[in-house]
Symmetry: C2
Subunit: 336 residues, 2 copies
């Protein structure tokens, strides 16, 4: 007998309390999905009574983002849930003209290789639904300005992305299954603090002299005394440097630009004993992260991009057999 | 001073306990995002210390889905957060070659009109990162079969989508800002139950006669007695019919195919007093839903696609001034 599960009933965008549009119809073990807003796969997990692999049909009502931006991710998750390649599994998708192209674009660009077949049946709208409508032209979006291509700088050994008075951002190349970039955020050093009280004590008149000595100039007072900046300006406050290295199985091309970072945020997808498989998948283990962190003299490591298999003791009921994130933490501490 | 907020640290896909890749760097009121997996905007809302409108730069490490499928939705939400069109607001996005095209495709197809400007600066990968890599060809995806175009059936007054032995699915046209479809799921009627005990009592031998009488045939026994099916078969069990009508400001084109549905799932984005604005946005009010439900003889209504402004008393701390979903419920009950 048919029953309906509401996965998201919010309009416009998802919130923690109300997901974007999605609902599931269950019928004798089959699950059919209607709409698939962003976060639908997470809602399915919360519900627990539906497994992504059961979904055999998906119906998209229209192409607004709150009804279909979750579709590429859901297909990837169904794919992972199946584990082995299945020539029998077929997901049939029904939706307005244009949906097939969006899915092709999203799956091809993300190099998502699915373990099952899917097919998009496009519904051709009638005139009454939208006069003059035609499938979207992806050539240019009206709100989009002209971006530039950023090429590798052979001298700096990085891609210079942007900088302002406080911060510089560069990218480095990471080895992964597809081109992956690490980003390094370097806060500018700040000049040391000026000891105003001491200057006044030495009889320096408030005004431009204060600025000149702060900028590192020696100044000569009217009575001939010479004041050296090092006696009135504190030590330079060095800026923080944060390196964010996501998916990679080899970070060493970024060694120089990550040097001496305050914080290294690095992926560690699997534990050390799985290093071979992990590297084959383009990912890193705690030992690899620690070794890299030691080489660059990182002050602190935060692990990220952790395989969902490792449960976090604070957010999960951990069963005796469960693997937890503590494994990754311990392995990192061993070498760092 | 720079600080870092972790929005998602999971690999592969988001779960309720660990989001897909995303983190935010905050610096003097500016927020820069690194990666934007599916659900990042929801993680931002949970965090509460970052507002989407503060984000000025986004850095995408690579084009795997768990690092960028949340980007189109996030841009739409930033856009909604700004409320008025801003020529000053610019979001600069840095990511691998191919990202610009994905965003264009996603935003154009979903007809997302942003209230701000964005620009994609593409990072051109080096050979070492992936040999032979080139921007994705969206023409065809290897896992994709050949879908067909489904045209309007003038006789049936709907788009016939699919059917199997248990269920028939058709689409109808809805009026919205872009082509929108409602879906009607009709369970097949099931034949009435055969009264086996009564047949045995009448001396009918077990076997093919049972099947024939169940299928509505009159049967003649060896002794000449004629048995009529209506005396041995219970009433037909009529299937359920569920109509799912998402974004629309006019459902009346679907009146016939929704007739007598067991359950009408219909959008109701705003309350009755906002009907003009609501219709102008392509949406419905409770009164409109109730009127339609009465006309089609729906047995039950479930409202969906509710504006995020209406808080649900069970999942929110409701302040005295808050509007709740009870408004929509009450307005529906008034007319239905
Ligand atoms: Zn919507
Ligand atoms: Zn819509
Ligand atoms: Zn990846
Ligand atoms: Zn990843």
């Amino acid at each position: 007998e048919m029953n309906v599960a509401f996965l998201g009933t919010g309009s416009g965008y998802p919130t923690p309390c109300r997901g974007a549009s999605a609902l599931a119809i269950r019928y004798e073990g089959d699950v059919w999905l209607i709409d698939c807003g962003e976060g639908t796969q997470t809602q399915i997990m919360k519900l627990k009574t539906i497994r992504p692999g059961q979904i055999s049909k998906i119906f998209i009502t229209h192409l607004h983002g709150d009804h279909m931006f979750g579709l590429p991710g859901l297909l990837c998750t169904i794919s992972m849930a199946l584990k082995t390649v299945s020539n029998l599994k077929l997901v049939e998708i029904y939706g307005p003209l244009g949906l097939r192209r969006f899915l092709r674009e999203a799956l091809n660009l993300s190099r998502s290789v699915l373990t099952f077949k899917y097919v998009v049946h496009e519904i051709v709208p009638n005139r009454i639904q939208y006069d003059g409508w035609k499938p979207g032209d992806p050539d240019w979006n009206i709100e989009e300005g002209f971006g530039h291509a950023i090429f590798y700088d052979e001298v700096m050994k990085c891609w210079p992305l942007c900088s302002n008075k406080n911060m510089t951002v560069v990218a480095g190349g990471l080895k992964h299954r597809i081109p992956s970039f690490g980003f390094v955020f370097t806060e500018c050093d700040k000049p040391g603090k000026l000891n105003n009280a001491k200057l006044i004590e030495y009889g320096v008149p408030k005004g431009p002299l204060f600025g000149r000595i702060k900028n590192g100039e020696e100044i000569t007072l009217e009575d001939g005394r010479i004041l050296k900046p090092e006696d009135f300006v504190g030590p330079v406050q060095s800026g923080k440097k944060v390196a964010v290295l996501q998916d990679t199985c080899d970070s060493w091309h970024m060694r120089e630009i990550c040097n001496n970072c305050t914080l290294l945020i690095h992926e560690a997808t699997n534990e050390n004993c799985q290093q071979d498989r992990c590297i084959a998948n383009g990912h890193s283990t705690p030992a690899m992260v620690a070794q890299f962190a030691n080489a660059i003299g990182a002050q602190k490591i935060v692990l990220t991009h952790v395989s969902q298999r490792y449960k976090h003791p604070l957010t999960h009921d951990v069963e005796p057999d469960d693997q937890t994130t503590e494994i990754l933490e311990t392995e990192t501490r061993t070498d760092f």
